[in-house]
C-alpha cells in the first residue's frame, strides 16, 4: 500500500483521471472527495466487501439443494409478507 500524508485541500492523483482530495479534517473522520471517470466504480470499502462476500456465497450455493428447493417453491406459493394494515 502506498501511504501519503496530506493536508486539507491536498490531493492524490491515480492513473489517468482519478483524483482523491482531502476536503475537511475532523477529530474522528476525514471528508474525502473523489473525482473519477463515470465508468470507474467508487464505493465505501466495507459496503463493497459486504456485497463481495454475499456474491461469493451466492455463487457457491449448495447445488444438490437447489432442485429440491425449486420443486418445493413450485408446489407451494412462496410465502408473502403480510400486508401492512
Amino acid at each position: 500500500m502506498l501511504v501519503f500524508t496530506r493536508k486539507r485541500d491536498e490531493a492524490i492523483v491515480i492513473g489517468d483521471g482519478i483524483e482523491i482530495r482531502v476536503i475537511r479534517i475532523g477529530r474522528d473522520s476525514v471528508r474525502i472527495g473523489i473525482t473519477a471517470p463515470k465508468d470507474v466504480p467508487v464505493h465505501r470499502h466495507e459496503i463493497y466487501a459486504l456485497i463481495c462476500a454475499a456474491n461469493l456465497s451466492a455463487a457457491a450455493s449448495h447445488k444438490a439443494s437447489v432442485e429440491s428447493l425449486a420443486k418445493r417453491l413450485r408446489a407451494v406459493p412462496i410465502e408473502r409478507a403480510k400486508p401492512t394494515p
Binding site: K38, D39, P41, H43, R44, I47, Y48, A49, L50, I51, C52, A53, A54, N55, L56, S57, A58, A59, S61, H62, K63, A64, S65, V66, E67, S68, L69, A70, K71, R72, L73, R74, V76, I78, E79, R80, A81, T84
Partner: protein, 153 residues
C-alpha cells in the same frame, strides 16, 4: 418500476449453456454486459440468462468469463411484493435506458445445504433488456436485507 420475467426456454435442439447446475437451454449470444463487474467476480463482465423447468422459479445468471460464476436469480417482487427498487440518479443514463425502456430486476439467491435460502434484496442486479447491459446496485442504503429469507424453513 416494471419487472419482466425471462423468456421461457428454447425448444429441444436449441443452444446450450454450461452452468454449475448442468447444461441448460439458452442462447450464449444473448449476452448481458455488466457495466461494472459483480464484486467478487471482477474478471467476469459477460453474462447470459438461462432457464429450465427444473430451476423454475429460479433463473440462472451464468457468467461467460472466468471464473464463470453461476448465480441463481429471482424476481424480487416474487419474494417481497412490496419491494421498491431504487435506481441511483444516473442509473438510467448508465444503463442507456430511455424513460419508457423496461428494466429487468434480478436478485441473487443463496441456497445453503439443507435448503435454507435467502435473497440479496439490498444489491439487486438491474438489466436494460433492450441494450443488454446491466449492473449490480451497490449502495449504503440498508432498507433491505442482504439475506432476505426465501420460502418457509
Amino acid at each position: 418500476m416494471t419487472s419482466i420475467l425471462p423468456l421461457p426456454p428454447e425448444p429441444a435442439g436449441a443452444a446450450i449453456v454450461e452452468t454449475r447446475f448442468g447444461p441448460l437451454p439458452g442462447d450464449p449470444r444473448q449476452v448481458v454486459l455488466m457495466l461494472d463487474p459483480l464484486p467478487g467476480f471482477e474478471s467476469c463482465r459477460r453474462y447470459v440468462l438461462v432457464s429450465s423447468a427444473d430451476l423454475d422459479p429460479f433463473t440462472c445468471l451464468q457468467g461467460l468469463d472466468e471464473p464463470r460464476p453461476s448465480f441463481l436469480v429471482i424476481d424480487p417482487l416474487v419474494v417481497e411484493p412490496t419491494f421498491q427498487a431504487v435506481l441511483p440518479a444516473d442509473g438510467r443514463r448508465r444503463l442507456e435506458a430511455d424513460d419508457d425502456d423496461p428494466l429487468l430486476w434480478l436478485t441473487l439467491v443463496r441456497v445453503e445445504e439443507g435448503g435454507q435460502a435467502s435473497v440479496n434484496l439490498r444489491a439487486p442486479v438491474v438489466v436494460n433488456a433492450r441494450r443488454m447491459i446491466g449492473m449490480q446496485l451497490i449502495s449504503p442504503d440498508t432498507t433491505y436485507s442482504i439475506e432476505h429469507p426465501l420460502g418457509s424453513a
